[in-house]
């Protein structure tokens, strides 16, 4: 691919990486990583269905994924419901792909990701979401911090409905657009790995957020360069990069003792 055609995917990928890494820390703190699995898969359901119906992809993916988040938050089964929902979504995508020719292509795109061939409109949507997210970072950090207080309660620090709603909408938007740009597995990998690894090493929340973003960006750049150099699809290279980074940092973690619990 000519280099002058790569800057837009690079821009979209960088923005998406930044957002997914931040969202990953938020989901980790809230113990909602399972939700990401379900939401990204249902984004794919919406996207594939939109392709089959020749409807606009992003609005339907956002709507379906947002509806699933609402359903998941209605009940208390947590990870069980999220996992069941993920499996149902996977089955639906497979069925759609088997029965509609356009859906088959779309399903492959949502599974494998097509970062290098991202549509300009989608890339600009990611850039827009990244810019829109900048002023939200402080409130998001506050809402994630406050969520850690439970089961303790400080009545003045309970997030209001508008804050909770804004956070939920932001999370859905990031997960859906991440799955659309990177494909479901690579988006999940960017959501989960940097946050997990950073949670092991960070000294405090701010450090964790910065560490996760930095790690995700380094992995993204490395995977971008490797996949172009080796002429390989981007999404699996990114996942392998995350796994390798995770194993390396996990091994290094055995050296410092700062995260071991002291004796009473």
């Amino acid at each position: 691919m000519p280099p002058d055609l790569l800057w837009l995917p690079l821009l979209a990928g960088t923005g998406m990486t930044l957002l997914l890494a931040l969202a990953g820390v938020g989901l980790f703190l809230k113990g909602s990583a399972w939700q990401a699995l379900a939401l990204s898969q249902w984004a794919a359901v919406g996207g594939v269905a939109a392709s089959a119906l020749t409807w606009p992809v992003l609005p339907l993916a956002l709507g379906v994924s947002g509806g699933m988040m609402w359903l998941l938050r209605l009940q208390r089964q947590g990870e069980h419901a999220a996992l069941a929902s993920f499996l149902a979504g996977l089955a639906l995508v497979t069925l759609l792909a088997a029965n509609a020719p356009q859906a088959s292509l779309a399903a492959a795109r949502w599974a494998e990701g097509q970062l290098y061939f991202v549509a300009p409109a989608d890339a600009w949507a990611v850039v827009g979401l990244t810019l829109f997210s900048l002023p939200l970072l402080r409130p998001l950090k506050r809402i994630w911090l406050r969520s850690q207080l439970l089961p303790n309660l400080a009545s003045w620090a309970v997030p209001g409905l508008p804050m909770r709603l804004a956070e939920a909408v932001w999370l859905v938007a990031v997960i859906v657009m991440g799955a659309m740009v990177f494909g479901v597995p690579a988006a999940l990998s960017t959501l989960l790995f940097p946050a997990w690894i950073s949670a092991l090493r960070a000294r405090h929340l701010q450090h964790c957020l910065l560490h996760a973003v930095l790690l995700a960006l380094v992995a993204f750049m490395l995977a971008w360069w490797l996949s172009l150099w080796l002429d390989q699809p981007f999404a699996p290279v990114l996942i392998v990069t995350h796994v390798a980074a995770g194993i390396t940092l996990w091994a290094l973690r055995s050296v410092p003792s700062s995260t071991r619990r002291s004796t009473p």
Binding site: N152, A157, R261, P264
Partner: protein, 201 residues
């Protein structure tokens, strides 16, 4: 609304989660009171605090709170996830309160919460719970509820906890549960057996 200087009043209240487990009971807590609810395990002391905090259900009777009341509930157990990338400073930031100047506490603030011992974690939570809420100057009433605050505390840490509790602003109302009569006495609280609050069914 609670009358006069009362911050909380329960009248013939039956409390529970899925079904009523305790009550009917009545209790009036005045502003600035230091009250310790005592009783055997499972008698409903924690449930009483949770009901006031809105974390348990009021099945019958009435619960009235003073207008503008700010509430703090220190839960009996607050499990820590591992790994948990939060420091002591983060915990105070989450509660939007300023850490008190206590040397034993200062050493805990930069540390990750998942590296603290049980006693250190309890002391840090207690210190945050007893810190004045933001904009507390002139804000009355404020109710601090501590569920078994002496849990996990060894003798030395208990002294620091008592120091924090006795330094609480006199205008703040303290409602706690516990079995440790020494600690209840040391922080100037009046013991009130839960069974004394029960009404005839």
């Amino acid at each position: 609304m609670a009358s006069g200087s009362e911050v909380v009043a329960l009248e013939r209240a039956s409390l529970g989660v899925a079904r009523a487990l305790v009550g009917p009971l009545s209790l009036r807590v005045s502003a600035g009171a230091r009250l310790a609810i005592t009783g055997p395990n499972g008698s409903g002391k924690s449930l009483l605090l949770k009901a006031i905090a809105g974390q348990a259900t009021l099945f019958s009777g009435r619960l009235r709170c003073a207008p503008g009341l700010t509430l703090m509930l220190l839960a009996q157990e607050s499990a820590r996830r591992e790994p948990w990338p939060l420091s002591g400073h983060d915990w105070f930031a989450a509660m939007e309160v300023v850490p008190p100047a206590l040397p034993r506490l200062a050493a805990l603030l930069p540390r990750r919460l998942d590296t603290l011992s049980g006693g250190q974690w309890q002391l840090l939570r207690l210190a945050a719970a007893l810190s004045p809420p933001p904009g507390a100057e002139g804000r009355v009433p404020h109710l601090v509820m501590l569920d078994e605050p002496a849990n996990h505390l060894d003798h030395a840490v208990k002294e620091a906890a008592v120091e924090l509790m006795t330094a609480l602003d006199p205008g703040v109302t303290l409602l706690m549960t516990g079995h440790d009569s020494g600690m209840i006495e040391a922080c100037g609280a009046t013991a009130l057996p839960l069974e004394a609050c029960l009404d005839a069914a």
